[in-house]
């Protein structure tokens, strides 16, 4: 039995994923739950496990390809089923066909041609198959008329169609193999001559001709045909448009009513040839002006989409200020040692998180979201704090849930763990969702102020600058103090500038006098 594996819906709103890497090849034996591919969806990389014990029958997507959720990306053959079954069924059908032929000689040496002639017991060319098998044949691009059915009287089953499709794709490399190949392959070869007559809709003919095309003239595929009029199915036109190919430029041998007719296969081979040509051009130019094209995909694209959505949805205003954190630096230095003893690295972030939670309690508008559809502002009574994290793949925002109910060390350890997972890209989508407020530490890398973009649909984000020693005037004296900058961006639809300033002031009070945090729950 063949098991199809569709790219699963791994989380809300995820429409597609990128196949990062295949961990198996076609023909490989696999065990149930063994990872077979790495798929990057949104921000997380997930392993795709095998659902069966058996072998990899066919891989339907290439590494690097974006695949919509629900697409079959790999098919498995279940254990003890695959090849042996296929062999017997083919043998059986050959035998059955042979017995209908009374000649003993014919039975002794059933040649490819004879099998082809026998494929339907009549001259009508009628193929007996269920509508579901016919549809599958169209989906897989196989001409059902070229399939030798294994059912009663030669009825073509879905299994036969799949087997034929697989043989057709696998047939290209090894021509004229003398091992007992399933009949369909041979039939297809022998039918190639009159493929033009077969309805191209089936696709078998299209495949045959495109195969011969690519085999005979690889160069031709790249040349522009430059016709004025081209016949093609609407779906083929869409494929051309999606591939950035001018359909009139695609070379084809096929005709319909005297007009050039282009198949999806022709589009694909032309698009590949064009791509190769462009790559060659780029390589040739590389000496003078080097540039590299990186696919805008996966995490990068998700970040981009998220940022654009936020920036274009929420009118942003950023409030800047400085805070004297000399006392905080001292407090943290003292506490860090105690934390180290418990094996927890204590950064400034948990202090800032605590300060923010305390301020958010006082200014609930900052801890809210705008439900545009319902036209309601939703004030969150829980405090899930996102911590923006730079990773090799790009920005990720792990969320520490219920920050108000956790002590400093819990916050520190949980945050460290999440940040680490994000950097290793083992973080799950769930761990990056449900935030109510975000903190981003731009100072870790350098810089004074920033204008962070709100992590939509939250309404505020706080950027921390670096803690620097700066001259401050205290009691008329210039003294060196530890100073940190704060930049609070708000969604001005929900939060006004005054609230932004008041909120920031409150955060500053806690950071200036960290002992005050002791009074907070």
């Amino acid at each position: 039995m063949v098991r199809e594996f569709e790219l699963p819906d791994v989380g809300e709103g995820v429409a597609e994923g990128e196949i990062v890497d295949w961990l198996v090849e076609e023909g490989d034996a696999v065990e149930e739950d063994q990872p077979v591919a790495e798929v990057e969806t949104d921000k997380a990389v997930v392993d795709v496990p095998s659902p069966v014990n058996g072998s990899v029958r066919e891989i339907h997507a290439e590494a690097g390809e974006m695949v919509p959720v629900g697409t079959v990306i790999i098919t498995f053959a279940e254990e003890g089923d695959d090849e042996s079954d296929e062999a017997t069924s083919t043998e059986e059908s050959t035998e059955t066909d042979a017995t209908t032929e009374t000649s003993a000689a014919a039975e002794a040496e059933t040649t490819a041609e004879e099998t082809a002639d026998e494929e339907t017991p009549t001259a009508s060319g009628r193929v007996f198959a269920a509508p579901s098998a016919r549809r599958l044949a169209r989906e897989l691009g196989v001409d059902i008329g070229n399939i030798d059915g294994s059912g009663p009287g030669g009825r073509v089953s879905e299994h036969d169609v799949r087997a034929a499709a697989e043989d057709a794709t696998g047939a290209g490399g090894e021509e004229e193999s003398d091992s007992p190949e399933p009949a369909a392959t041979r039939i297809e070869d022998s039918d190639e001559a009159d493929a033009g007559e077969t309805d191209t809709a089936g696709g078998g003919a299209a495949q045959a001709s495109s195969a011969s095309q690519s085999a005979s003239s690889g160069a031709m595929a790249g040349e522009s045909a430059d016709r004025e009029r081209t016949l093609a199915a609407p779906a083929t036109r869409k494929l051309a448009a999606d591939s950035g190919v001018d359909i009139d430029a695609v070379p084809t041998d096929e005709e319909r009513d005297g007009e050039a007719f282009v198949t999806p296969a022709a589009i694909e081979s032309y698009a590949e040839a064009q791509q190769a040509a462009q790559d060659a051009d780029r390589a040739a130019l590389a000496g003078s002006r080097e540039e590299e094209r990186i696919p805008y995909r996966g995490v990068r694209r998700t970040i981009g989409q998220q940022m654009a959505a936020s920036k274009y949805t929420a009118p942003h205003v950023t409030h800047h200020d400085e805070v004297d954190v000399t006392a905080l630096v001292e407090a943290r230095t003292d506490l860090k040692e105690l934390a180290d003893e418990q094996g927890i690295s204590l950064s400034y972030m948990p202090f800032v998180m605590k300060a923010c939670v305390a301020a958010l309690r006082e200014f609930p508008m900052v801890n809210s979201m705008l439900d545009e559809e319902a036209e309601e502002i939703v004030q969150k009574k829980y405090y899930n704090i996102g911590v923006a994290t730079a990773t090799d793949a790009g920005l990720m925002v792990p969320v520490v849930e219920d920050a108000d109910r956790k002590n400093m060390l819990q916050l520190a350890s949980e945050m460290n763990e999440l940040v680490e997972k994000a950097r290793e890209r083992t973080i799950s989508r769930d761990e990056m969702q449900g935030g109510t407020f975000t903190i981003t530490n731009v100072g870790a890398i350098g810089g004074e102020y920033a204008t962070p973009i709100v992590n939509h649909p939250e309404v505020a984000i706080l950027a921390l600058g670096a803690i620097k020693e700066k001259p401050r005037v205290k009691d008329g004296e210039i003294v060196p103090r530890k100073v940190m900058t704060l930049s609070l961006s708000i969604d001005h639809r929900v939060v006004d500038g005054a609230i932004a300033a008041q909120f920031t002031n409150r955060v500053e009070e806690f950071l200036e006098t960290p002992q005050r945090l002791l009074l907070e729950a």
Binding site: A123, S124, R126, G153, R155, A201, L231, P234
Partner: protein, 474 residues
């Protein structure tokens, strides 16, 4: 562009809301395509408004009356009074329910409904003229268009439809009084169905047919059962005579016919129903504007994806050629839209079943024995006469038979012809068999309910296998 036009855009523009068009529209809505359906008259097209549904409603109603009045054998003595206006009004209720259902379904599936007559104005535009003075027009730009304008009754020279003396099937289904006498020109399925209806209502029916038999599209023995029954109902047949002209005479008309020797006959009647066939409606579309031409019969040629010669224009239903059957149009509509949506859909059905609602009904699917032989099959045929069917006898309707044609080698069911009560329903099983590539054995091994008419199917199959129980094997 006409001054005052408003242009709107749509992915899929469908012209005509008959079975082909409305099914395409609903399917397109399901596939999330932006779809606009233009209808000049009534949702549901000919099928719901002037064809299948009203005719079957009247056939059922007249059967009730007729059966009651002829059931003495069953010990029932009745003399039903038929109020044709009441019958027509009931029929209209049925039609209204269905057409408003179609409209609701279209809306529920997000179909933009536009009322008016559409004609092509350019490569990718149609102009829709709204009905009524000063209602204006609009221009719709489309990515893909589906022509589903259907067909209309064909007229013959000298017999223009006037709605009074010379009527088409459409008017015949809307009469408010039973005519005393009726000449029906044409003994095809429409002529035969309506002749039967009016004969059962008490009309004196005369059928004039140019060819030499009734239901020429069907095999002789199939047609004969129906014709014999029609004659029992009092219908007179005149074959080999073509209607040539008519004139008013007294309350009614006199119709002159001419045979191939030039001999003239005259028939007097209250009205003449001309039912010589239907022609596609493609002449109102200004097809020139998109560079599309029809064949001699006015049909648009299409391929197995319902595509015409013009890339983005599809044609479904009656305009796409014979057979002009609602269910064929529905399937084509579905396929056209799925192709537009990029699905690997195609019209690769193995057969289109057909039914004639005469008395008894005819149901056919796939190949006849002759067609199968021509296609190169060596055939085996099995038959079950309805007089051997227990259920048929209990219905008091035992005319006809079930015939199954199969391939002698592998036993694949290739076709079937049924002339029997409920043949239109019975044929469905054999339609499935043909599509599935089922064999005689498959049907024989399927238990059929007793006592039903469906048992006749399995008996015919067993007859083909030489294993019939209730008839003598031939």
């Amino acid at each position: 562009m006409v001054v005052g036009d408003v242009t709107t855009g749509t992915d899929v523009l469908i012209v005509g809301a008959g079975p082909g068009g409305y099914v395409a529209a609903i399917r397109a809505g399901q596939l999330d395509l932006d779809v606009t359906l233009v209808e000049k008259e009534a949702y549901g097209g000919t099928c719901l408004n002037h064809g299948c549904i009203p005719s079957k409603a009247l056939i059922s109603a007249t059967d009730v009356a007729h059966d009651a009045s002829t059931a003495e054998e069953m010990g029932i003595h009745a003399d039903p009074a038929v109020d044709l206006a009441g019958m027509v009004s009931w029929k209209d209720d049925v039609v209204d329910q269905l057409t408003s259902g179609v409209e609701k379904l279209c809306k529920a599936n997000g179909v933009n409904l536009v009322e008016g007559r559409a004609e092509f104005a350019g490569d990718d535009t149609v102009r829709v003229a709204h009905a009524g003075e000063g209602q204006g027009s609009e221009t719709i730009q489309f990515e893909h268009a589906i022509v589903a304008t259907g067909s209309r009754p064909m007229s013959i020279p000298n017999f223009e439809f006037d709605g009074e003396h010379i009527i088409s099937s459409r008017e015949a289904l809307a009469l408010d009084a039973v005519p005393e006498s009726l000449v029906v020109v044409g003994a095809g399925y429409i002529g035969m169905e309506l002749s039967t209806v009016f004969a059962k209502l008490g009309t004196d029916v005369t059928v004039v047919e140019m060819l030499d038999s009734a239901l020429p599209a069907y095999e002789d023995d199939v047609a004969r059962v129906v014709k014999d029954r029609a004659e029992e109902l009092g219908i007179d047949f005149y074959f080999g005579e073509g209607a040539s002209e008519w004139e008013e005479s007294g309350d009614g008309i006199t119709i002159k016919t001419e045979d191939e020797d030039g001999e003239i006959s005259e028939f007097g009647a209250e009205k003449a129903l001309v039912a010589v066939g239907r022609e596609p409606v493609t002449d109102t579309l200004n097809l020139d504007a998109i560079g599309l031409a029809t064949d001699e019969g006015g049909f648009l040629e299409t391929d197995d994806r319902a595509r015409t010669d013009v890339e983005n224009v599809f044609a479904v239903g009656d305009v796409a050629g014979e057979p002009m059957l609602a269910h064929k149009g529905m399937k084509e509509g579905e396929v056209a839209v799925e192709v537009i949506a990029g699905e690997p859909s195609a019209l690769d059905y193995q057969s289109v079943p057909a039914a004639v609602f005469t008395d008894p009904e005819i149901g056919t699917v796939g190949m006849t024995e002759e067609e199968a032989e021509e296609a190169g099959f060596s055939t085996v045929v099995g038959e079950m006469p309805m007089r051997a069917s227990g259920r048929a006898l209990t219905l008091g309707e035992s005319d006809g038979f079930v015939r199954v044609v199969a391939d002698d080698d592998a036993g694949f069911i290739l076709g079937a012809q049924i002339v029997a009560p409920e043949a239109s329903e019975l044929i469905a099983e054999l339609g499935l068999a043909v599509e599935m590539g089922a064999t005689l054995e498959d049907i024989a091994a399927t238990i059929h309910t007793h006592p039903t008419l469906g048992e006749a199917v399995v008996e015919a199959v067993e007859n083909a296998r030489g294993r019939a129980i209730h008839t003598l094997n031939r």
